[in-house]
Symmetry: C2
């Protein structure tokens, strides 16, 4: 088992990473000061897969556990679900000293964290992420929240967990498309900050998830360490933390343009990173050879569903509503080499448009060939 310490001025916590970690969670929770009454929030499917591996050791350690399930998926990530959770917490007689435990993917982690942030003006919670994406991204750093009918993650709070427990062995049950979604997010960390991690994924991704557990653990550790380090230097997204949005601006636009039902988050970010590299190249911030290597590696990780059928307008229009933009600026995170990015505050809008237009043309070409 490895630990990453995330140090913040107001609250510091440990991220524990290890294969078959679940049985060790209960003693680690006691060490972290958890009360013996715990409310586990999960989904029916995840509880079926991993519930007993966590709940049995918890009970053996003397924890009294209430379990609360919420429906899977982004459409339920809303204030209604939060209200249902809060109402259950009252029924369970939870108080200011109670802790929540999120067992699940990003949606469950985000909702649980937000419920913890607002119940009685803030109680503690811990994260036990069960998806690749949640293990390397959303479970770390305290961004919590839900969607509004008018947009994703528009409601939320910064509320750091009390501990994070990452067990890569849980990923063996993950559907392959969800696993791939995590791979795209993992390569993001390589492009951002770690050329070695990029090369590792470039050359060995085929050994994942099952064939090389040590490699999987190392990759998750390295991604989590980058995330933790960035969050520790900029908890509330003053500026530095924005670099984690590499590929997300155009990625979210693609998700919105396809009604959040066609691409996984990772796939959207995969497209978004290729577009960001194209754009950086066009702006002479990135060498063409690096841009090509980025695109080639991303496409080699897993299939990227084609977006050839989208219009340029369908992609660019949702970007106007993106909360990362102020009214007048197009702020983009762009790679300058493999392992380094820059935040460009005034990206010329016409350059973004030209990049998207050309990418759509290429997508149409690729799609024709595939036919």
């Amino acid at each position: 088992m490895q630990q990453i310490h995330l140090a913040l001025p107001e609250k510091s916590y440990d991220i524990h990473i290890g294969m078959d970690l679940l049985p060790l969670v209960p003693p680690l929770l006691r060490e972290a000061g958890a009360p013996l009454f715990l409310i586990v929030i999960s989904s029916p499917a995840i509880l079926k897969l991993h519930g007993s591996a966590l709940l049995k050791p918890l009970e053996e350690e003397g924890f009294q556990v209430e379990t609360l399930t919420i429906p899977e998926g982004e459409p339920h990530k809303n204030l209604r679900t939060v209200e249902n959770i809060l109402t259950s917490l009252v029924k369970f007689k939870a108080n200011r000293k109670s802790w929540l435990l999120a067992l699940g993917g990003g949606v469950i982690g985000d909702i649980t964290g937000f419920a913890a942030a607002v119940f009685l003006r803030g109680i503690e919670y811990v994260q036990v992420p069960t998806t690749f994406l949640a293990q390397i991204d959303s479970s770390i750093g305290g961004k919590t929240g839900v969607n509004l009918p008018s947009g994703k993650n528009l409601v939320g709070a910064f509320h750091q967990p009390q501990s994070v427990f990452i067990d890569p062995s849980l990923l063996s049950t993950l559907p392959s498309r969800e696993f791939h979604s995590g791979l795209f997010e993992a390569i993001k960390y390589g492009i951002l900050q770690n050329a070695e991690l990029f090369a590792l994924l470039e050359n060995h991704h085929a050994d994942l998830p099952g064939k090389n557990p040590q490699l999987l653990e190392k990759i998750i550790h390295d991604c989590a360490a980058i995330k933790a380090e960035i969050v520790s230097r900029d908890e509330k997204e003053g500026r530095l933390r924005m670099i984690l949005n590499l590929g997300h601006t155009l990625g979210h636009a693609l998700e919105a343009a396809t009604q959040y039902s066609y691409l996984t988050l990772g796939e959207a970010v995969g497209h978004g990173m290729i577009l960001a590299a194209d754009l950086a190249c066009r702006l002479k911030m990135l060498k063409e050879i690096d841009s090509q290597r980025i695109e080639k590696t991303i496409r080699s990780l897993a299939p990227l569903p084609s977006v050839h059928f989208l219009s340029q307008e369908a992609i660019l229009q949702p970007m106007q509503a993106d909360k990362k933009f102020s009214a007048l600026h197009l702020r983009m995170v762009l790679p300058t080499k493999i392992g380094k990015v820059e935040i460009l505050d005034d990206t010329p809008r016409e350059m973004v448009e030209a990049t998207v237009l050309e990418y759509l043309e290429q997508e149409r070409q690729r799609n024709k060939k595939a036919d």
Copy 2:
């Protein structure tokens, strides 16, 4: 105009107090760094009374203002109303740099503050309280939140405003029962921490609100200063801030026992403070003469609707669910003399029960006499 500076480690702000302050709000907002686009949240009735006095000067100062009204009253203080506000903010294209302005009483202030706390994980807001209670209590200190169907203020966040603007002249339009509600809360500060303020209210409350504007401003200033000082020493209710709950524990129980429709908050706290003084006396923490002076003064401020028809159980049962209690302890704030209180962590439950029982008997006697 007077200022109170509320200094906190993460965010400090000014509380401006003065008769006819509204026209000065716009330049003070610009000084405080407000953006020129502002969203005012209020109720139809309050907008009718005070809207133009604020909105006209805002527009003259160059602010572009969107106005959002929410229905009055506690039943609308819920997550549904918050979601409606957030959805409107998206429609108004509010972003992370937008500010909200709450123009209204405690409900509007609490909801607006909570909406600001969770929109895009936190934006700025300012408070322009229009009720006595809001001017001396809820607008200061950053406690924001809404109710759940299962209980009051169970959802919320600590989120400090960027400025507070208190104009006592607004209270001249307040219905007298609402004004009295504020008087009960004002005397609380006297009992808590300021014997002089207590004596001032004891002897001169009849001159308020209209006859002596200077006195009203002084009382509001002194109350706000006590609140600000306590909050600055204990922002998140570690312990000290709990003393502000004097009279609230039993007060909330009375409110709950009467379905939140019979007593104003101030009246409930009025009863609660008399009960707390009785209890303190019974526990030999407070002299009988002080307890009698507290009761006499509270009853002289304004009529306290009788609670003679309640049973002891109806009052004590909701207290079990109060978020201020952990499972085993009855924590009470009790006066030890006029101007000083103590927090008792293990108040003997039977003493509380005996105090309530005797008080109900007295209420029945008083009620018979009144008939």
